[in-house]
């Protein structure tokens, strides 16, 4: 085999390409420099603003943007990206169209140059190696960074100046050669299926019950209906209901994270919790929680009189809005998921599936009729009570995020005692009948009573101190640092910067613990991890900062964005320069051993 020089080989390739296929095939991926065009602009106050113009169909990874000065990584403020939540790739933040990052002025000398490294992909096609550019601080002139300066493993390729004039054998999607994942991502079908199942589960909650009289009223009101007719009516009712959820999905996907953020505020959490308590009370028969009678009557009248497909659809749409609040926590979870994806169509379809899932049993009900439901009786009452207890439990669970732990424990204890009394008290007034079921019930009741008492007593004795209801809403300066001293609490980025500066001056490594008063996992970590002697000893040489996210406001959001923190508890280790040490981040409550390993990594021991 004769040796061929590169040029010869490339030319050969080129000829073969030209001979073989038409222009539709010869789409070559854009060179990285063309796909991601970097500009630098000086702002006297802010610093240097880096702007990437990103070609359509391409995206840049936010976390891959690295700026170095004299070989040392410096911190930048990169604007929030679009979340890319691919079922396969996990959650990342990317920029499409434009990406902006600012290098703070105070970190920059007058002269010299910084090296900017960034990396991105063409959607569903290829991923580019890291690109490194050197920016002269005096002139803002951008040049390819020399080999070896970039962070990427193969900077020799990064420059990409030697773009060969070879046409590629690249089939274009227009030839039917679609890349593996479609525009909505490969997981759409599975997402929809999952939401359908989710909806089916939701339909088992009593929230759907109010729909049954509406639907049956509609079906029965018009006299006897043929099966196909009931089917058509039920289906249109359910489809409209699903459409209502789909519409909700559109709004949520549009509004993006705002909803998620507002759902996390103590007020929203407490409000939802209150809704559940109200629902529970209604289940216990304190009052009938139904639509205002006038509405229900009107709906039933409309249903009875018409029975047309159009009115069925109208009813379905309305019903969805009515039960909406009732299914809050699961629905909220679904909405949050949709909001995170940020994709309007996907979110809408997902919620549509959810509505469909909820409606399927209704269709069955509509067709087969109320015959399938057993007649009412004591059992129905019992079922309602069970749901009442579940609702109260949900209310406590939700509230536990914002109320002090002791109060939560007391509430759980109270619930257990109540359940115990519910199970046992009737037996006291009845002639003893020693049937196994009765015995089991009494036994369970005693156990619940006992557990409840333990919880209440435990709560009273707990080392979380007296109830501090104000703390949870951020009125009182918040995070309790009783378990370990030495944490400096910050709640804004400026405070954090000052603390990091302090660490730099002292040459200390820094640990930033993102925490919040409403975060139960954070409490667990304080108790089980930070309070341990071993941990304390290992952290002794470090500057300990606690970033307080109790108040979910703008400053806490910027704090989180600064280190791309998803939520508390998150622990970030920084070297004395204020740069995060890779692979040391702790997200969520972890065990002592794992935490010690992270410390070891962070301190290089």
């Amino acid at each position: 085999m004769p040796y061929v020089r590169i040029a010869g080989f490339v030319t050969l390739l080129l000829r073969l390409v030209m001979a073989a296929v038409g222009p539709a095939w010869s789409v070559t991926p854009m060179p990285a420099d063309q796909a991601f065009q970097l500009r630098a602009q000086l702002d006297e106050e802010e610093g240097i603003e880096l702007t990437w113009s990103i070609a359509p169909g391409h995206y840049l990874y936010r976390e891959r943007i690295v700026v170095t000065l004299d070989g040392k990584r410096i911190r930048i403020a990169a604007e929030k990206g679009e979340p890319k939540d691919d079922p396969n790739f996990g959650l990342t933040e990317i920029y499409r169209g434009t990406g902006i990052a600012t290098v703070p002025a105070e970190l920059l000398p007058e002269k010299g140059h910084i090296v900017v490294t960034y990396q991105g992909c063409a959607e569903n096609s290829i991923c580019y190696p890291p690109v490194s550019k050197s920016i002269d601080l005096a002139t803002l002139l951008i040049e390819d960074a020399g080999a070896g300066e970039g962070k990427g493993p193969a900077p020799a390729l990064g420059g990409g100046k030697e773009t060969r004039d070879v046409s590629a054998w690249t089939p274009s999607p227009s030839n039917g050669l679609e890349p593996e994942a479609g525009g909505l991502g490969g997981g759409l079908a599975s997402t929809m299926l999952a939401f359908l199942g989710f909806g089916l589960l939701l339909s088992l909650t009593p929230c759907v019950f109010p729909m049954i009289p509406i639907l049956s009223g509609m079906l029965a009101g018009g006299g006897r209906l043929s099966t196909p007719r009931s089917l058509a009516l039920s289906v249109s009712y359910v489809l409209a209901m699903a459409a209502a959820y789909g519409t909700l999905g559109i709004f949520v996907a549009w509004s993006g994270e705002n909803l998620q953020a507002s759902l996390q505020t103590p007020v929203a959490v407490l409000a939802m919790s209150a809704v559940f308590v109200a629902l529970a009370l209604s289940m216990f028969g304190l009052y009938e929680l139904q639509l205002p009678q006038s509405w229900a009557a009107k709906l039933a009248v409309v249903a009875g009189n018409r029975g047309s497909i159009g009115s069925a659809a109208l009813l379905g749409f309305g019903s969805a809005l009515i039960v909406g609040p009732c299914v809050t926590p699961p629905l909220a979870a679904a909405l949050v998921y949709v909001a995170q994806t940020g994709q309007v169509l996907r979110g809408s379809l997902a919620l549509f599936s959810l509505g469909l899932g909820m409606g399927l049993p209704l269709i069955a009900f509509g067709v087969i009729g109320s015959r399938i439901l057993p007649s009412a009786g004591v059992w129905l009452l019992r079922v309602k009570h069970v749901f009442g207890v579940i609702f109260v439990a949900l209310a406590i669970w939700m509230a536990s995020r914002v109320v002090p732990v002791a109060l939560t424990a007391t509430a759980w204890g109270g619930l257990c005692i109540a359940v115990g009394l519910y199970l046992d008290v009737p037996s006291l007034f009845q002639a003893p009948r020693w049937r196994p079921a009765k015995l089991a019930q009494a036994g369970a009741g005693v156990l619940a009573l006992f557990y409840g008492c333990v919880l209440v007593i435990g709560a009273a004795l707990s080392d979380y101190g007296p109830l501090q209801p104000l703390m949870s809403v951020g009125v009182v300066a918040s995070v309790p640092d009783a378990s370990i001293g030495g944490f400096q609490v910050v709640s804004s980025e400026a405070e954090l910067d000052r603390a990091i500066d302090l660490g730099r001056k002292q040459g200390k490594g820094i640990m930033v613990d993102f925490s919040a008063a409403w975060c139960t996992e954070c409490r667990l970590m304080e108790r089980n991890v930070f309070a341990r002697e071993e941990v304390k000893r290992r952290l002794a040489g470090m500057l300990l900062i606690r970033a307080d996210l109790t108040r979910f406001d703008l400053s806490s959001k910027t704090l989180m964005q600064r280190f791309a923190v998803v939520g508390p508890p998150t622990v970030v280790f920084l070297d004395p320069d204020g740069t995060e040490i890779t692979d040391t981040r702790v997200v969520g409550d972890i065990g002592v051993d794992d935490f010690l390993n992270k410390i070891a990594k962070a301190t290089g021991v």
Binding site: L16, P31, A32, Y61, S125, I126, Y128, P153
Partner: protein, 212 residues
């Protein structure tokens, strides 16, 4: 069993050294590329039918999500077709751990376990794969880890040279990023699905028939 800390530290050091060395050698290295180097590099792992009438060269990175997507279709067509020879070119360009992955896989070749290790690494979805994730995935392949460590150390030079050759070739044929494929005479710098591979393979065969 080896101490995992020292092992991972070693790998990291190895990756760092490759970082420093590769660009240097890539520049000073031979700027002559041969067809043989691309298709018949004796050190490059090969799969499929060794006597197949068509060779596909796969340039990939263990941190490249789209490579992983395309790899499934590629393996499928190689199997279904039965007459394709597949050459793996580890092309670690995306991140530091890419080099770690390439070294692990290529070192496993010395105990004839390249393919299981390669597949294990490709089966970790996404990008930004940590070294720990890689080691964990490899641990499940039943590869002899002690031997792997020994081979990484003993054959460090050879592995590095192979990676360097791959880098040079990929650059020479003008690949912009991962994944890249040579399918016969065709260069495809894009992730393909199964149908895409079917079409390119058919075209490459047709080309080979009429072109010579």
């Amino acid at each position: 069993m080896n101490d995992p800390i020292s092992r991972s530290q070693f790998l990291r050091l190895a990756a760092m050294s490759a970082l420093l060395v590769i660009p240097e050698q890539a520049r000073s290295g031979d700027n002559e590329i041969t067809r043989d180097m691309i298709l018949n590099d004796p050190d490059a792992p090969v799969a499929g039918n060794p006597d197949g009438d068509l060779t596909i060269v796969d340039f990939f990175d263990y941190n490249c999500p789209y490579c992983k997507m395309a790899a499934k279709s590629l393996e499928k067509i190689v199997k279904a077709d039965g007459n394709i020879r597949l050459v793996y070119k580890d092309w670690p360009i995306l991140a530091e751990t890419s080099i770690v992955g390439a070294r692990l896989a290529l070192a496993a070749k010395y105990q004839d376990r390249y393919l299981p290790v390669h597949h294990a690494l490709m089966d970790i979805p996404g990008y930004g794969i940590s070294q720990e994730q890689m080691l964990e995935a490899i641990g499940r392949t039943g590869v002899d880890q002690r031997r792997l460590d020994a081979d990484i150390a003993a054959h460090a030079e050879d592995i590095l040279r192979l990676i360097k050759r791959n880098l040079t070739i990929a650059e020479a044929i003008g690949l912009q990023g991962t994944p890249g494929f040579l399918v016969g005479a065709y260069r495809v710098n894009q992730a393909l699905n199964y149908d895409g591979f079917v079409k390119v393979v058919a075209d490459a065969r047709a080309r080979a028939k009429t072109g010579k």
